[in-house]
Amino acid sequence: MEFAKNMMIILLTAILAENFILTKFLGICPFLGVSKKLDSAVGMSAAVIFVMVIATAVTFPIYVFLLDPFELEYLETLVFILVIAALVQLVEMVLKKFMPALHRALGVYLPLITTNCAVLGVTMLDIDNWDPSISFGVSFGNALLYSVGAGLGFMLAMVLFAGVRSRLDSEKTPKCFQGMPITLIAAAIVSVAFMGFGGVVDGLFK
């Protein structure tokens, strides 16, 4: 019971209270760039979830077993970017060879997010959340869960905003607000709405 409760807290925190796009403001570029259409928004988010999970799965052990024991924490950013970029390339090749259908679905989005700040952000936040006193297995599981939640939160924000934008398209906006300005204002309003989730998760599991 305690275990399930912990999992729910981590997931809901990542999805709602600490939504990557709308409260942490990471990954704004794909958020504004790919949210015009619902299907491309879903495709992009699927790719982000996928990359976030495998990136965490690789960078977390690297930090715990390689960087931390040698006191090289300051190399975190450098090594993580290197590893994530190479990893995504590798995964793309593997997908192309063995799962052409999945490769076609994630297609153009995979290389786009190799150096996305949301992906790097999730790996670094996992490190921030890491508690050396907990056994590696549990903390690794928590980190993976957090990255799944972050990806799902990304997807939620993208899908919500794709809906908002399709409404915006059919509205008559004043000329000076057309295009990017009204999109940014709409994004800000959606973001304000998400700020409301601030204390919800802690309150839910009291």
Partner: protein, 264 residues
């Protein structure tokens, strides 16, 4: 010294080298063979993914071309693309029958009226689903320009309430025809000059009541046509482009002006 400076440098360099080595090896072993002719053929196609060739897009058509599909199916590309593709594939070039779009409705703001002050979503598809559209004729062009949005060549515009095709820009891909909720747009060969600018199957009296420009099915054109290219079925004239000689007699005979000669 070693701990503080050299080890980190070695570590990062080592990581980089290791990863690049893995990528190189992976690229070797995981390489997926792409057909070289496919890439070359694909590069020749225009890439608008209109589907006029009958395939799902340019990628799909290029694949089919490698497997022996006809080279003259790309209508936006025309003869030049057909020739280029044939050259790559080493087959004889075939002529493309060039086509363009016509809007089979002449019900502009002078000829017909709106029967409602439509305030809903401003697309033809939405308007058409609301009591068959805002125009008094239920087969009319709704004038919201779903076709204009679909066109990649800026060849169709709303003028005086109806869609009008700019023949000099139209390549005949048919993307607008697929968007029109009333199926008013037809793709005909560029050699055709005469067409019926009405799609109403209503009885003549009804058509006359709602539109000055509609085809009333009087069969005058059918009788006047010297080459027997016109047939009137369901109160609507139809011109067979194969038989039509573009003489234009029908357009002169037509009492409502529903048959038009290009350029108008």
């Amino acid at each position: 010294m070693f701990e503080a400076y050299i080890f980190p440098i070695l570590l990062v360099t080592g990581c980089g080298l290791l990863l690049s080595a893995i990528l190189v090896i992976a690229a070797k072993f995981m390489a997926v063979k792409t057909d070289e002719t496919y890439e070359l053929v694909r590069a020749q196609l225009p890439g608008v993914n209109c589907g006029a060739c009958g395939y799902a897009g340019c990628d799909d058509y290029a694949k089919a071309l490698c497997n022996g599909a006809k080279t003259n199916l790309c209508i936006p590309g025309g003869d030049s693309v057909s020739a280029a593709v044939s050259k790559v594939l080493g087959v004889e070039a075939a002529d493309v029958e060039e086509q363009f779009a016509i809007v089979k409705c002449g019900g502009n703001c002078d000829a017909t009226d709106y029967i409602m002050d439509y305030q809903g979503v401003k697309t033809c598809a939405a308007c058409n689903s609301f009591y068959q559209g805002r125009v008094s004729c239920s087969h009319a062009c709704l004038g919201f320009g779903d076709c204009v949005l679909a066109c990649k060549y800026d060849a169709i515009h709303i003028m005086n309430g109806i869609a009008v095709v700019d023949k000099s820009k139209c390549v005949g891909c048919g993307m607008c025809a697929r968007e029109c909720p009333n199926h008013l747009i037809d793709i005909i060969p560029t050699t055709s000059k005469v067409y019926v600018s009405c799609s109403s199957h209503d009885k003549g009296a009804q058509t006359r009541r709602v539109c000055k420009d509609g085809c009333i099915g009087c069969r005058k054109c059918e009788k006047a046509c010297p080459s027997g290219a016109i047939s009137v079925t369901d109160n609507l004239a139809h011109i067979d482009p194969q038989k039509c000689t573009n003489c234009g007699i029908c357009a002169v005979e037509c009492p409502t002006g529903a048959i038009k000669v290009y350029p108008i």
